[in-house]
């Protein structure tokens, strides 16, 4: 078991934990995600088919439609959304969605150090990301 910690910037406060779902590609909550089911539906996206439910969603930044704010709120309210968000650079569309959904979120994290399946302790209030990785 390997554990390490990174420090970023608080976007929305809160403390959560869960399994990491990591993509190196930007996400548009309008278009990339089905808010009713929580699955990634964007064709050719590197996490197409993945399920957001209860994950700590790790991606570089948001892209695309401004409808994404309400759609993030909706996917969370539908109970199939992520537990927290980690970005390289928080873009306004996801930020406002996370504020309204009260979803813990940090940015300014080197996400290349996190792998899908890592277990994450996210202390967004203090901007701390603790990563726990099982030995390969």
């Amino acid at each position: 078991m390997k554990t390490f910690e990174m420090k970023g910037r608080k976007i929305v406060e809160g403390v959560v934990e869960g399994e990491a779902l990591v993509t190196s590609e930007p996400i548009s909550f309008m278009g990339s995600i089905n808010p009713k089911t929580g699955y990634v539906i964007e064709k050719g996206h590197d996490i197409e088919g993945a399920w957001l439910k209860d994950k700590i969603l790790v991606f570089p930044c948001s892209k695309g439609s401004t409808g994404g704010s309400y759609m993030l709120y909706d996917v969370v309210k539908n109970g199939v959304g992520p537990r927290g968000i980690i970005n390289i650079e928080a873009e306004s569309i996801v930020v406002i969605g996370a504020i309204v959904a009260k979803l813990p979120m940090v940015d300014k994290i080197d996400i290349s150090k996190i792998k899908t399946g890592d277990y994450i302790y996210l202390d967004a209030t203090n901007g701390i990301v603790k990563v726990q990785r099982k030995d390969d």
Binding site: I11, M30, P60, C61, K63, G64, S65, Y70, E91, I96
Partner: protein, 406 residues
Amino acid sequence: MKLTDEEKRMLNGDEGEVVQQCMKVLVTLGDIYEAEKMLPVNSVHSPGVSYRVTGDAGLGYVEDVSKKGGHFKVPTTLNTIGIDSKDWKKIGFPRDFSLKQLELLDAYAKLGAIPTHTCTPYLIGNVPQIGQHVAWGESSAIAFVNSVLGARTNREGGPTALAAAITGRVPAYGFHLDENRKGNYLIKVEMNLKTERDFGVLGYFTGQIAGKNVPVFEGIKERPTMECLKALSAALASSGAVALYHIVGITPEAPTVEAIMDKKYETIKFGPKEYDEVIEKKFNFSSDVDFVVFGCPHCSIVEIGRLAKLLYGKKVKSDVWICTSRQVKLLSDKMGYTDIIEKAGALIVCDTCPVLCPTSSKGYKTVVTNSAKMAHYIRGLWNVKSALIQMEDCIDTAIQGKWGGR
């Protein structure tokens, strides 16, 4: 953040609970981005007006603000919705969805919104001026208003546009500030671009690279049509999160490369090879075609005129939607275009588009369109294959009922 006395009163609740709640959202956002103050805005374009986008969560959010007696302080136009508000029964939009949509529109009406229901509010009267601070949603319209008109907005999601409309303020950060409007990518355009499809391909290519940064295009010699700029804006904000771009010698803030580039920037080439790659990798197929879509972003009257000319005396085999605002449709009716289009078997759909309305139950598998934005979104949202081809080819395809690939 430094607030004026009036803004402090709003935050303290002196103007009521709704204003306070909205001011809190804006202050939270301003704190994250280290804004020094608020800026007054007098134009808002609100996204999050389609029930497909808001779901019950967003509908509840807007209704809550509306029921608590919220009222828009500044002129606020509404983005594209999930149905044709007049012909939803005739076109066959699902009843449950439509009723929820109408409920959402009621909430916005009580807030004092201007019910434009279009992604191109700049075609029907919401036209900010150069240097003016505004709060706009709709990714394609944001890129258009920042870049082509030179007004200043960040990418506002539904809740921030709502808060801006109610308080008349936005935090001063991002694209409101001079220093963030310089170019970070210089895109050297080494080919002639003519059609909306061409500019869509350029935008799609560039958005993937630029992300949320500012691309600057060099080498576009002739002034693109408004329709081409609309297509470019939409594509940049589909593959990426581009809110602002410049075209050297064309858009108002970019007289020369030297004047508009940041100190450090990256140079990227866009030529026939890059163009072909976007089409081959993303938007190409050959087969029968179920559905042909125009009007992403919503058609101008000029585009509808061109479509009417191409469809005159013809019959389409594929289903065809031409999406536009109701105001433009009225012009189309008056000019006889609607008649020609409907006689050919195509449909003019107002207020909505396939990105924001419910997925059709007709089981479409293949879609062609001249819009990169539509080609991008409809694949995932409707689970179809999509091809990006120019308007004339789209019409030929609709008449033949098939597309042979590029």
